[in-house]
């Protein structure tokens, strides 16, 4: 019997809720992985037709083109506020934002803290790649000390330019936040764990248990001036020590859910 005669089963395929379009993301950019994971979770939970996404401003400004899901486009930083508006009038729908580090941790800091502290029942997918990607690699609130960017050309000087913001830790102090975790996308094991976290975050929303956020350490090969493979190593060696992976806030209700 040749291989051609052996029946096969599909173990992994492109998720249905991911649009057919080729993305504009750079080769190796982990935005693509994050999109794929969200699409897989929406498919597996069967909530595609009941979900409204809020796109933000950054490399992912066109994220709405890549999901077969209703979407709105927020102004820079304002996605959590827009999501609040939508979720309050449509409490039975699934509402999520997809934001980068400039959008969420810089211009949008007021909105994310507001949404988290109010316990808005939304899910935030937060991509942290330590720079402002879309605009060409400037320093972000998440840029590491000493890291060279186009607006910290000699390396981030903490005396003049301050220290990075650890978003998961920051938001975890808020009573209104129910599930705040940090995962990474830099190898297959972490990608699988990231998917589980994204699934949990949407389950938190399904159970009406409050604000959920998954911070995803991501690569930016182009602006870091590395190959995609080198960029993943940089995440492991440089980012994880500053942004440790883990569960920063799991409310009692969410913990009970996971059992």
């Amino acid at each position: 019997m040749t291989l051609a005669d052996v029946p096969t089963k599909v173990v992994y395929s492109r998720p249905e809720s991911l649009d057919d379009r080729v993305t504009h993301y750079c080769p190796g950019c982990t935005h693509g992985i994050a999109h794929r994971l969200v699409a897989e979770v929406l498919d597996e939970m069967g909530i595609v037709e009941n979900t409204i996404g809020v796109a933000s401003v950054g490399c992912s400004v066109f994220s709405y083109n890549y999901f077969n899901v209703d979407f709105v486009e927020a102004a820079h930083g304002r996605a959590p506020a827009m999501a609040t508006g939508i979720k309050r009038v449509y409490p039975d729908h699934f509402v999520f934002t997809y934001q980068g580090d400039g959008d969420l941790a810089s211009i949008g800091m007021g909105e994310i803290v507001g949404a988290a502290s109010r316990g808005e029942k939304i899910t935030v997918i937060f991509l942290n790649n330590a720079n402002y990607g879309m605009t060409g690699g400037q320093m972000a609130p998440t840029t590491l000390p000493g890291q060279k960017t186009t607006s910290s050309p000699t390396g981030r000087d903490v005396n003049r330019q301050g220290y990075p913001i650890q978003t998961a830790e920051l938001l975890s102090t808020l009573e209104g936040a129910s599930y705040v975790v940090r995962r990474s996308l830099h190898n297959s094991r972490e990608v699988r764990r990231a998917k589980q976290a994204i699934r949990t975050a949407f389950e938190v929303q399904k159970a009406g248990l409050g604000f959920s956020l998954v911070e995803l350490l991501s690569t930016c090969p182009t602006n870091w001036a590395m190959t995609p493979v080198e960029a993943r190593e940089w995440v492991e060696e440089r980012m994880i020590p500053v942004y440790p992976l883990g569960d920063y806030k799991v409310s009692a209700a969410v913990a009970a859910l996971k059992k």
């Binding site: 595609v48 037709e49 979407f71 102004a75």
Partner: protein, 371 residues
């Protein structure tokens, strides 16, 4: 229905509720906070969403999100808070979703004060946020008118997918007058085709204001302008007093218009044939009636509680055919009727000119008054 003695802010809030307001997102700022406070109690009573946002910036973006669902949404603020909302308003205009904004105007610029003013005219009537867009602007002069214009605001914004702003002077927001509130309208059951509500049967809805392809953006801009032409043709509203035989016409909106009415009546008693044109829609501007009056009258007097903002729109229509004079108080100072009467008498007795700028002449007189 019976009238009740009610504060402007509260009346507008209640009128919005009865017009089928489905969600309100706002932030406290004097002199409109009563509107937010009233809704903070009433919206939960009716099971409708109310959020006091982290800032006006948060509030306008919450409105943006909810507006994308096609439901009736509103926010309210005052001058400095409205400045914060300009980005959001531009986005909402660029996405062509409906919403109602209430701006209760206070003295400025900057932190200013909490006294009534009309200094937001340029910001509100000429767009305010970036890009080419207009908002429909309604200017009530009494609590009852504010109530009546509230329901109209929701109807207009939905009909034209154009932001509708009720621009009230701080005085209208704060004063208490007898007013009749309308009966409750039921909440809308259907949402418009364009609204996001979940991609059922693979039908996806996308609302965005981005148009990287410039020619495509231009097509959108033309669409907005075509819609504005329709609004200009159909939605102009104004009220005229003693215009039929008027030799002089005072032009004033909101509280300035109302104060001017007292002055106009007093002037009439003194035999001066003066009338009042009180725009109710500042955008679309009542250009046609103003144009008609230009042919008939000897001169205009524009009265505002600012440094002469609507003045420029009046001058544009009049085009130097007749003299246009100006009287204003700024910074939250509210003029008295006798101040306007003095100006009317000056119009009727002193030589007038179409040369120079009326603002310069007014400022010189104001400096003398202030000493």
């Amino acid at each position: 229905m019976t009238k009740q003695l009610i504060k402007g802010n509260t009346a507008v809030a209640e009128a919005a509720l009865r017009a089928g307001l489905e969600a309100y997102f706002g932030y406290p700022i004097t002199p409109q906070t009563e509107l937010l406070e009233h809704l903070s109690a009433r919206m939960p009573e009716l099971g409708r969403p109310f959020v006091q946002a982290e800032s006006e910036l948060g509030a306008i973006n919450m409105v943006y999100g909810a507006a994308c669902t096609g439901k009736r949404v509103m926010t309210s603020s005052s001058s400095p808070g409205v400045s914060l909302m300009m980005e959001g308003l531009s986005y909402i205009a660029g996405t062509e979703v409906p919403m109602v904004l209430v701006d209760v105007v206070r003295g400025g610029p900057g932190l200013g004060n909490i006294a009534p003013a009309q200094g937001d005219y340029n910001q509100i009537v000429h767009g305010g946020g970036h890009g080419d867009y207009r908002m429909i602007v309604l200017a009530p002069a009494s609590v009852q008118e504010a109530v009546d214009l509230t329901a109209l605001a929701f109807d207009l914004t939905e009909k034209y997918r154009t932001i509708t702003t009720i621009m009230m002077d701080g005085s209208i927001g704060q004063m208490m007058e007898p007013a009749e509130l309308p009966p409750f309208q039921p909440l809308k059951e259907e949402v418009p085709d364009w609204a996001v509500r979940g991609a059922k049967n693979g039908e996806k809805h996308l609302l965005t204001s981005i148009n990287l392809d410039a020619p495509a953006q231009e097509v959108m801009n033309v669409r907005l302008m075509t819609r504005w032409e329709e609004i200009e043709a159909n939605e102009v509203r104004w009220k005229g007093y003693y215009l039929d035989d008027a030799e002089y016409v005072v032009v004033g909106f909101g509280t300035a218009g109302r104060i001017s009415l007292s002055a106009v009546r007093a002037a009439r008693e003194q035999g001066i044939k003066v009338g009042l044109l009180r725009p109710i829609t500042l955008a679309p501007f009542p250009a046609e009636i103003l144009n008609e009056l230009t042919e008939k009258v000897k001169a205009f007097l524009v009265v505002e509680m600012n440094a002469g903002q609507m003045l420029e729109d009046v001058r544009l229509v009049v085009r130097g055919r007749k003299p246009v004079e100006f009287f204003g108080r700024m910074g939250g100072v509210v003029p008295f009727p006798d101040e306007v009467l003095t100006e009317i008498k000056r119009l009727a007795t002193e030589p007038l000119t179409t040369e120079g700028h009326p603002r310069d002449r007014w400022l010189a007189r104001l400096r003398e008054t202030l000493g």
